[in-house]
C-alpha cells in the first residue's frame, strides 16, 4: 500500500495539503477531479510520497517511555 500526499500549489506559491491517500490511483483520481474544476485551473497539483511507518503495537514502546507524573 502506498501512502501519498496530494498538495495544491497556488499561483503565489502557497502550498495547501489536500489530503493523505493510500494508492496512486486514488490520488490521481482526486487530482483529475480537481483539475476539472474551472475555478481551480490556476492551481498546480503534486503527488508526494509520504513516509510509511511499520505497523507496531504501541504498548511495548509506551511502557518504556511513559514518565511517571
Amino acid at each position: 500500500m502506498e501512502k501519498l500526499y496530494v498538495n495544491e500549489i497556488r499561483p503565489d506559491g502557497a502550498v495547501s495539503t489536500v489530503g493523505l491517500f493510500y494508492s496512486r490511483a486514488e490520488a490521481e483520481k482526486i487530482v483529475a477531479m480537481l483539475r476539472d474544476i474551472p475555478e481551480q485551473a490556476v492551481c498546480r497539483y503534486e503527488i508526494v510520497q509520504a513516509v510509511r511507518h511499520v505497523l507496531v503495537e504501541k504498548p511495548a514502546q509506551r511502557k518504556q517511555t511513559a514518565p511517571e507524573e
Partner: protein
C-alpha cells in the same frame, strides 16, 4: 457551487479498509459485521429519513427584512429540536464534497454533544452513543430544513443518511472551535465529543465568525491524544490546508484498532483535556484509569 474537498468512502467502500480486510484474509470489517440491533436501528433511522432531506417549498415566502432576528429564530428552533450548538456561515467550495454541487448560499451547522459519562464506559457504549447522536442530528437537520421550506425558502438537510457537505470546515467557520491534533474539531466546552447535522439554504441569515481560542496552540504541546492512541496513528507533524493546521490521521494505523476489531475506538476524543471543563470528575477518573494501565496523562490529573 462545486465542491473541492475529497471525502473518504465509508465502510467497505473505503479502499484502505478494503485492502486491510483482504490482507487479513477476512471478507468484511469486524467492526461493521458485529453490529448490534440497537446500532442497526439507529443506522436505519437516518436511511429512513434520507428521502425527506428536501421537499416542496411553500410558494408563500416569509419576507425577511432583517436577517438578524431570522437567524435568532432559526437557532432557537434548532435548539428546541435538540441541538447543543448552532452556527451559520456562507457556504464555500472547500465545505462541499469534491464532485458535488450545492446551490445554496448559507449552511446552518447543528451539533449534538455525546454523553461523556456514557462514552467512557467502553467501546460498546461509545458506539451506541455515537450512533444515538448521529440519529438525533439527522432528526434535527431534517426537521429544520422542513421548517425553512415552510417559510418559503429552499433548504436541504445533510446528515449521515446523505450529505454533500463536510463537517470540519463548516464547524470551524461558524466558530464552534478549532481543528485538534486528533483530526476532530475541538470545542472549549464539549471537547471533540459531538456529532454533526447541517442544513443548506437560501434563507437570508447572519454569518457567525471563526473563533480561535488557542486550541491549536495547545495541541502543539499537549500530545495526550497522540500518546494514548493505541495504534500510534496521530502524527507529530502537521500540514497546512487553506491556512489551517491539520494533523492527518494515519488510517493504516488507526483502522486495526477502530475497524478491524469488534470494538469502536474513541480514545483520542475521550482523553482530550478540553472535555474537562464540562465533565471534570469523569475526566479525572477516566485519566486515572488510563494512567494505571500505562498511558501518559496530563500533569494536572
Amino acid at each position: 457551487m462545486r465542491g473541492i474537498t475529497p471525502r473518504r468512502e465509508q465502510g467497505m467502500a473505503d479502499p484502505v479498509l478494503a485492502e486491510m480486510v483482504r490482507a487479513t484474509g477476512a471478507t468484511e470489517s469486524r467492526h461493521f459485521a458485529a453490529v448490534k440491533p440497537v446500532i442497526q436501528a439507529y443506522r436505519a433511522s437516518w436511511v429512513k429519513l434520507a428521502p425527506y432531506r428536501d421537499g416542496p417549498v411553500n410558494s408563500q415566502r416569509v419576507t425577511v427584512d432583517d436577517p438578524a432576528p431570522m437567524t435568532a429564530q432559526i437557532k432557537q428552533k434548532a435548539k428546541e429540536l435538540g441541538a447543543d450548538m448552532v452556527g451559520v456561515c456562507r457556504l464555500q467550495p472547500h465545505m462541499i464534497d469534491l464532485g458535488s454541487e450545492v446551490v445554496h448560499e448559507f449552511v446552518i451547522a447543528c451539533c449534538v454533544a455525546e454523553d461523556y459519562e456514557k462514552v467512557t464506559e467502553g467501546a460498546d457504549a461509545v458506539e451506541e452513543e455515537a450512533m444515538r447522536t448521529y440519529a438525533k442530528c439527522t432528526e434535527i437537520a431534517t426537521a429544520l430544513a422542513a421548517y425553512i421550506r415552510q417559510m418559503g425558502y429552499p433548504a436541504i438537510a445533510h446528515h449521515n443518511g446523505a450529505s454533500e457537505v463536510q463537517a470540519i470546515p463548516i464547524f470551524y467557520q461558524v466558530g464552534f472551535g478549532e481543528l485538534g491534533r486528533h483530526g476532530s474539531l475541538i470545542n472549549e466546552e464539549f471537547g471533540a465529543s459531538f456529532r454533526p447535522g447541517f442544513v443548506t439554504t437560501d434563507l437570508p441569515l447572519v454569518e457567525d465568525q471563526p473563533r480561535e481560542s488557542g486550541v491549536q496552540d495547545f495541541c502543539m504541546h499537549c500530545n495526550v491524544c497522540q500518546r494514548n492512541c493505541p495504534g500510534d496513528a496521530i502524527p507529530q507533524d502537521h500540514v497546512m490546508t487553506h491556512g489551517i493546521k491539520r494533523w492527518l490521521i494515519d488510517l493504516e494505523k488507526c483502522y486495526p484498532y477502530s475497524r478491524l476489531r469488534d470494538e469502536y475506538c474513541h480514545l483520542c476524543v475521550d482523553v482530550c483535556p478540553y472535555i474537562v471543563k464540562s465533565h471534570p470528575e469523569t475526566y479525572k477518573a477516566f485519566m486515572k484509569e488510563r494512567k494505571q494501565v500505562g498511558y501518559k496523562t496530563p500533569k494536572t490529573y
